[in-house]
């Protein structure tokens, strides 16, 4: 005889991710590492920002570079002779705590003060997945259009610092930077917003200041 049975599972995948994220953070805290998750769309300037910070910050830095299948970002950072782990998500459009846990295994955490985690270029999927970082920096650019913030409110709600990059190109693409700043402030009233042109080193010192303040 066969019978039908109902089995309670109550297993929340996102809570499971959160637990793993907490474990990552405990591991980082134990090693005295401050970790920053960098989120932003493809081409917003995540890797450029990380490169500039490596050049200008006087700390031992490690990098986890997430990409769907390529290692381009990891290769770009490697030339600074610092520990870099390239994480390929395969098909996924975001990093999760489990992948980052593996990334941490491959890093000499005792020799690092600051860990930069570059998420996959995407303003949507990474929102739901805590990685265990201490700070979330969201970087967007004028060239993405000045409605970018309005269209992706959740990622800004969770941000600890928001950077609006490529402001030097705002006029060329008809983007209203003040509107972008206002949109961020409506969604996340206390978050600091920094306008930058990273290519020209504009605003980078202010970003470093904000990171040091958070550390």
């Amino acid at each position: 005889m066969h019978k039908i049975a109902e089995v309670e599972i109550q297993n929340d995948i996102l809570i499971a991710n959160k637990k793993l994220a907490k474990r990552n953070q405990r591991l980082l805290d134990k090693a005295g590492v401050f970790a920053i998750d960098f989120l932003g769309a493809v081409g917003s300037g995540k890797t450029t920002l990380i490169e500039k910070l490596i050049e200008k910050m006087d700390y031992s830095i490690g990098v986890i570079a997430g990409d769907i299948i390529s290692k381009f970002d990891a290769e770009r950072v490697k030339r600074y002779n610092i520990p870099v782990v390239g994480l390929n998500t395969g098909k996924e459009c975001h990093l999760d705590a489990h992948l980052v846990e593996h990334g941490l295994e491959d890093l000499p955490l005792d020799k690092i003060d600051l860990l930069f985690i570059e998420n996959v270029g995407n303003l949507i999927c990474p929102v739901d997945f805590d990685l265990g970082s201490h700070m979330r920096i969201v970087i967007i650019s004028a060239t993405e259009g000045d409605d970018t913030v309005q269209k992706h409110p959740l990622i800004f709600k969770e941000a600890d610092l928001v950077i609006i990059n490529k402001v030097d190109l705002a006029d060329a693409v008809g983007a209203d930077i003040d509107k972008m700043v206002e949109d961020v402030s409506r969604i996340n009233p206390h978050v600091k917003v920094i306008k930058t042109s990273l290519k020209n080193d504009e605003g980078i010192e202010e970003i470093i200041e904000a990171i040091l303040e958070a550390m």
């Binding site: 066969h2 049975a5 599972i9 995948i13 996102l14 009233p189």
Partner: protein
């Protein structure tokens, strides 16, 4: 995400000596950026050639609920002004943006209905 769901369900089905999984019920929070229709489709594809093949996937949406320092505790509704599925912009009572999200961020595998030997 879908892969994690499938693995969890197969694991639970095997532990309970299931011959077949008939139904899987998943709760998805309104504020997650998961698309229930896409999740359902991917689950159906991933369940092929597993004990889950042919199972019915039920998706229940958990409405968003916030707790605001102003004392408001309850649902928030979508703001049509914004071009987004369900943005969280402000507390419907005080208009503030500093609230705690109580419900709406779930991706919970609630239960499964299985067929098993008596």
């Amino acid at each position: 995400m879908a892969d994690a769901i499938i693995k969890t369900v197969i694991d639970a089905a095997e532990k309970n000596n299931a011959i077949e999984v008939l139904e899987v019920t998943i709760e998805i929070g309104e504020l997650t950026l998961l698309n229930p229709e896409q999740i359902k489709f991917i689950l159906e594809v991933l369940s092929e050639d597993t004990i889950l093949e042919g199972a019915k996937f039920n998706i229940e949406i958990i409405p968003a609920r916030i707790e605001c320092p102003c004392g408001y505790n309850g649902r928030i509704t979508s703001n049509d002004e914004l071009d987004h599925y369900n943005p969280i912009i402000s507390c419907p009572s005080c208009g503030g943006g500093e609230f705690k999200i109580i419900d709406g961020r779930e991706c919970n595998i609630k239960n499964i209905k299985i067929e098993k030997e008596e």
